[in-house]
């Protein structure tokens, strides 16, 4: 049974991935590597959160970096200015950002893709402007120091947050999976494929897009807030950088937006590369060039992602082994009937 073997394969892959993520802290040779691991997991959560919108509906947001930054600042400000306990602040911040996503989505999602992208970029630019200029409230360019939630040594601090990010990643992935298999998710995917057609079949497209955008914003804000509690220092230039959003898009596209673990795989790939290049070559403008060229190549030649491209290749190799395509579909049909009845 091809279905069962596939399921075992997928199960094993997930178990291996989970094990690798969980074991990493005890293998990390020094706190710096561990902190890089935290950053990569942060990217994994962000890319998965991005993929709620990008993967299901096909609407590409370049502004999710700003939503994360907003989550970070909201968390920080709630701790610093309102005196909330760290994790209560995190939860409230995520709710606030999700609430803000409602009017944003109303403006951006009522019409088709182009205005969504424009709004997403505008969001980054306007938030950078506001958070830099409103120094009395946000700390401006001096930054905002967020007190650490635990009194721990540096390696321990990293370790705890590493696992916190891993938990958040698990929740985000689970939520994505739940939607993926649901009627709601099928509706979203039909919007991605043909929005007019989906609407003509009775899918309330605007409401669906709005809901999933809000969910995505909530998860993004959680990741951003957790980052703020971990890193402890926020600077508008980095929190509201257009680059963050483009990294997320690159990760998700690279890994494949239609796959549950695509964004995670892309985040591990790109995140590791980013950290590596930062250590080896420092911060150079060539970062931008590399990101730009890579993004262009993916968009032009592998818009469905690298993982799916490899998958397709394997499938094609597999197919040549079998005698005919017709037979495969017939076998699959019998399989289908068994599953259905």
């Amino acid at each position: 049974m091809p279905n069962a073997s596939k399921r075992i394969l997928v199960g094993t892959a997930i178990a291996l991935l989970a094990a690798a993520i969980l074991v990493f802290p005890s293998l990390a040779p020094n706190p710096y590597i561990l902190s890089s691991g935290v950053l990569v997991l942060n990217y994994a959560v962000l890319a998965t959160s991005w993929n709620f919108v990008g993967g299901f509906t096909g609407y590409i947001s370049l502004g999710h970096g700003a939503l994360a930054g907003l989550g970070g600042y909201a968390t920080g400000l709630l701790v610093v200015k309102a005196g909330l306990p760290s994790f209560a602040a995190l939860a409230v911040a995520a709710l606030l950002v999700a609430a803000l996503a409602v009017p944003l989505g109303m403006a951006a999602l009522r019409v088709r893709g182009a205005s969504f992208v424009i709004v997403s970029i505008a969001l980054v630019l306007i938030l950078l402007l506001v958070f830099q200029s409103w120094a009395s409230f946000t700390g401006g360019s001096r930054g905002l120091v967020v007190p650490r939630p635990f009194d721990l040594s540096r390696p321990e601090h990293h370790r705890v947050f590493y696992y916190l990010f891993a938990v958040l990643l698990a929740i985000a992935v689970l939520a994505w999976w739940l939607i993926d298999r649901s009627r709601f998710g099928l509706g979203l995917k039909s919007i991605r494929e043909d929005e007019d057609k989906a609407e003509a079949l009775g899918t309330p497209t605007f409401a669906y897009k709005l809901i999933v955008f809000v969910v995505s914003a909530g998860f993004t804000a959680l990741a951003g807030g957790l980052y703020a509690l971990w890193f402890g220092d926020l600077d508008p230039v980095f929190q509201f950088s257009i680059l963050t959003g483009s990294y997320l898009v690159l990760m998700a596209l690279l890994g494949g937006v239609r796959n549950l673990f695509g964004p995670v795989a892309g985040a591990i790939l790109v995140g590791t590369a980013l950290e590596y290049f930062k250590v080896e070559y420092g911060d150079t403008p060539l970062h931008l060039v590399a990101t730009g060229v890579l993004l262009a190549l993916v968009v032009l030649f592998m818009p469905d992602g690298v993982l799916p491209a490899i998958g397709d290749l394997l499938k094609r190799l597999d197919r040549t082994k079998k005698s005919s395509i017709r037979e495969v579909t017939a076998a699959e049909l019998a399989e289908q009937r068994k599953a259905a009845v």
Partner: protein
């Protein structure tokens, strides 16, 4: 007097906005492409103007002899070689990513070639200014405005008076119908892109006259420009020009009570308000309804 000066400055600024936004509108009209890299090319042109002045010693205005044809060719190439490769079904989204990637690449290369140092063209007439009814206007700002007006008028004549302009408008309004009329829409689209990018070359030269430039400056331009084309009604050149004038003026006037930084928010407020209450824009542009 301050008020009058602000109005004049707003008018001058609006002219440049109008020129640049008309380029963006052309791309959108032709292919439903939101061209994020437009302002990156603007800064590139400004850098080229600065470089030629700094190294070769020619007046920045003369750099257009090189940059305008160069950018035109680059625009044609961009459309024919890259954008046509994208699947039509996902063109709008993927073209945004592609042009975004190009913007990043251009910014990175500028940073690599010229470092992140801020640059400024120093000309004999840089600090010259004149007075009109008590308002003090820098000569270079006027030159920039005149450049923008000339380029816009040229564009207008091209669109309304020439056979190519007729073909371009037909392609924008109804591609299939244009094809039925015997128009080679692919070629027209390519040239349309070239013209769009050529406006960035003119705009960049104008910009270099009175602005300090640095590689990431293009992000300060793309936001307002995108706001302008949305407010103007995506795909409508006169709409974009009108929105550019209104918003440029508003920005200039708001600088008095709010300061330069906060005055910029007027673009984003206008963008959100337009999308929330009148997504088809305020100046024509029926295309926008479905995008």
């Amino acid at each position: 007097m301050l008020l009058f000066q602000s109005i004049l400055l707003g008018l001058l600024l609006g002219g440049l906005y109008a020129l640049l936004a008309s380029g963006l509108t052309l791309y959108f009209g032709i292919m439903r492409v939101v061209m994020i890299a437009h302002s990156a090319f603007l800064i590139l042109a400004a850098y080229l103007a600065w470089w030629m002045h700094d190294r070769i010693g020619v007046d920045p205005l003369l750099s257009m002899v090189v940059t305008v044809p160069l950018f035109f060719a680059a625009g044609v190439g961009l459309q024919r070689l890259l954008l046509t490769r994208l699947r039509p079904a996902t063109l709008t989204m993927m073209s945004v990513l592609l042009t975004f990637a190009i913007a990043l690449t251009v910014e990175g290369l500028l940073g690599y070639a010229f470092t992140g140092t801020q640059r400024r063209v120093q000309l004999g007439y840089s600090s010259a200014s004149f007075e009109i009814f008590g308002a003090r206007i820098a000569v270079v700002k006027l030159i920039a405005f005149v450049l923008a007006v000339i380029a816009l008028s040229g564009l207008y004549v091209l669109m309304k008076r020439t056979r190519f302009g007729w073909a371009l408008r037909a392609t924008i309004q109804h591609r299939d119908a244009a094809r039925l009329l015997g128009i080679d829409t692919e070629r027209v689209a390519g040239y349309g892109f070239g013209i769009g990018l050529a406006t960035a070359a003119v705009g960049g030269t104008a910009l270099s006259l009175d602005t300090t430039i640095y590689p990431s400056l293009h992000w300060h331009w793309i936001g307002p420009l995108m706001a302008i084309i949305v407010v103007g009604g995506l795909g409508s050149v006169p709409g974009a020009a009108a929105a550019a004038m209104v918003l440029g003026m508003a920005q200039s006037l708001l600088q008095i009570p709010m300061g330069t930084t906060w005055a910029q928010t007027v673009f984003y407020v206008a963008l959100f308000a337009t999308l929330a209450f009148r997504p088809q824009g305020f100046f024509g542009g029926r295309l926008a309804q479905r995008f």
